[in-house]
């Protein structure tokens, strides 16, 4: 920890110590395209942290910067309390494993040899590593293919082998870029189960397009788009926030049109749409409470029979698109 004192102020040092990953003001430009524009986020130690964003948002660029594979134009990164300096040997890589989006392995190696190579690089004790290799090959149903060259594996098998490789050294930090994209439902279930079990034992930082999976296992999510951070929140907090902004209102069927017109007049309401036999009402950002407080009394006063008035339980996918949508609106409104 000594070297931190030369890099960060006391306040920042405390933040870094508590975080597996600390990213501040990260920017990166590729030719004429800004891949990252001052991203900040922290990944708490022992947490499972989802890193979300549409294609081209800058997720893989961020991950590659963290791993020292590409250089940032500006900003600071520290991993496990150790600062990143591009072009220098990074000590934290001894405690970190990485699964790329498309897992690759050195050519010509069999599955078992690839895992043995990983144990040698991380200097695991030989007997222990052999036991772990056998166990992981069996768990990921690769034991029959262990002595086949990896180049003959299907994409799903390569991804399972890749996951086995990142688990093998039992690292402090696992960085996974789309870890389940090529897996069948059973494969996904097994991987998510393993990731869940790592909570509080290791830190998992992973990007995924399968938001239902992220919702299942992540404590925290960071959403980025076009190189900017849009949101950084606990998964539960995020879902609650968006649940509170959406209400499902059931009224008598002959009063639905009248009720919808009345609801639209409320200045806190952004959108009203029919959903099956109910009305889905979405508030403007930050005005959910004002909307909820006024809406029900108004409807009742106007003689509308309200049979249901409840927050709409949202999922991460809906929340994700809401965040992106709000950001696009802000960008359009920006002068």
């Amino acid at each position: 920890m000594g070297r931190l004192s030369t890099w960060y102020s006391a306040g920042e040092r405390n933040k870094i110590k508590g975080n597996a990953i600390f990213v501040s003001g990260l920017s990166k430009q590729f030719d004429h395209h800004s891949a990252l524009r001052g991203i900040d986020f922290q990944v708490r130690r022992g947490s499972i942290h989802g890193f979300l964003g549409p294609n081209g948002a800058g997720k893989t660029t961020t991950i590659k910067i963290i791993l020292g594979l590409i250089a940032a134009d500006a900003g600071e990164v520290s991993v496990l309390g150790m600062p990143l300096k591009f072009g220098q040997k990074l000590d934290y890589l001894r405690y970190t494993t990485y699964l790329p989006q498309d897992p690759v392995f050195p050519e010509g190696l069999t599955g078992k040899e690839a895992l043995t190579l990983v144990t040698s690089i991380y200097r695991l004790e030989k007997n222990l590593s052999q036991t772990r290799i056998d166990r992981l090959l069996k768990y990921f149903q690769l034991d029959d293919a262990a002595n086949r060259r990896v180049s003959t594996y299907s994409r799903g098998m390569q991804q399972r082998l890749g996951i086995a490789a990142v688990l093998l050294p039992e690292p402090e930090l696992l960085i996974l870029d789309e870890p389940v994209s090529a897996l069948d439902p059973e494969g996904r279930r097994r991987v998510l189960e393993i990731i869940s079990r790592l909570r509080n034992r290791a830190t998992v930082f992973f990007s995924s397009h399968i938001l239902a999976d992220v919702e299942k296992v992540c404590d925290h999510v960071t959403i980025i788009d076009r190189g900017r951070k849009l949101l950084d929140a606990g998964t539960g907090e995020l879902l609650n926030r968006y649940a509170m902004e959406q209400y499902l209102i059931a009224v008598r069927s002959d009063q639905q049109a009248e009720a919808a017109a009345m609801i639209r007049k409320n200045p806190a309401v952004r959108e009203v749409s029919p959903q099956q036999d109910k009305l889905l009402v979405i508030s403007k950002p930050g005005e959910s409470i004002a909307m909820a407080e006024k809406l029900l009394p108004t409807l009742i006063r106007q003689g509308i029979t309200v049979t249901e008035f409840a927050p709409n339980h949202t999922n991460l996918e809906e929340a994700f698109f809401r965040v992106l949508d709000e950001n696009h609106r802000r960008e359009v409104d920006r002068p």
């Binding site: 791993l67 020292g68 590409i70 072009g87 890589l93 494993t97 392995f105 050195p106 050519e107």
Partner: protein, 253 residues
């Protein structure tokens, strides 16, 4: 480091890259001595009715013929085998995979070049010994000391071209670009040699090592004459490696 060396050795052996170069050298080691010995008979068969009288080749010429073939065809094959050493791993993402682990970039490059040098040096030594023994069996013994010096000159020159290709492979994104540039420099250095050989600069020009092979075998040139080009060749090898390593250390993968 041992882990990386083993990985490199295994991959190169299985992919048959460096062994392919060794097979080409072995081919010349086994083919040149009988070709030289039976050249007159072969020529007579192909040109019936025409009398071609060629002087009988000496053991010195025969061993030189092997070295000369390796310095041309062998080196070209080696360039094609080495051009993907780093560039291919960058293209496929294996370099990124390896370097996201606790492996330094210099370590990564050093393991690769160490295996390359080991294959080339040991392979050339073994094949040259075979060529020497085969020449001795068929045509008499070439001078041993001169043959050893000439082999050393060939090894140094081959390692320089291997390092050049390796350096291009490390700093360029495409293996084809690396190989193409190395081939161009290989031919240009040969052409440039025609100019340099007439000047005092020849004493320090790496291609002079090739020009000295025959006189070294014959004994008409002393080993000290290759001090200048050998020193420059070794210096270039070190400089190319350092330059490639330095650029690769700051390269985005």
């Amino acid at each position: 480091m041992t882990v990386l060396l083993m990985k490199e050795f295994k991959w190169n052996w299985r992919s048959f890259r460096y062994p392919a170069f060794l097979l080409v050298v072995l081919f010349f080691a086994l083919l040149d001595p009988p070709m030289m010995k039976y050249m007159n008979e072969i020529m007579a068969r192909f040109a019936e009715g025409v009398e071609i009288v060629m002087p009988d080749p000496t053991p010195e010429e025969t061993f030189f013929s092997y070295l000369s073939d390796v310095s041309q065809m062998g080196v070209l094959v080696l360039i094609f085998m080495v051009m993907g050493t780093v560039a291919r791993e960058k293209e496929t993402g294996v370099a990124g995979w390896m370097l996201s682990k606790p492996i330094g970039r210099w370590q990564y490059l050093t393991a690769k070049i160490a295996v390359l040098f080991t294959f080339v040096t040991i392979g050339l030594l073994i094949c040259s010994t075979l060529a020497y023994l085969y020449t001795m069996t068929l045509m008499g013994q070439p001078p041993m000391a001169g043959s050893i010096w000439a082999t050393i000159a060939l090894i140094a020159y081959t390692l320089l071209l291997a390092t050049l290709t390796f350096a291009f492979s490390a700093v360029l994104k495409s293996q084809l670009a690396a190989g193409g540039l190395a081939v161009i420099i290989f031919f240009l250095s040969g052409l440039f040699n025609l100019v340099v050989s007439e000047t005092a600069a020849a004493d320090f020009y790496p291609n002079t090592l090739l020009a000295l092979m025959k006189p070294l075998i014959d004994g008409t040139a002393s080993p000290s004459t290759m001090t200048g080009p050998l020193a420059i060749t070794l210096l270039l090898i070190v400089l190319l490696y350092l330059l490639a390593g330095s650029l690769f250390s700051h390269m985005e993968l």
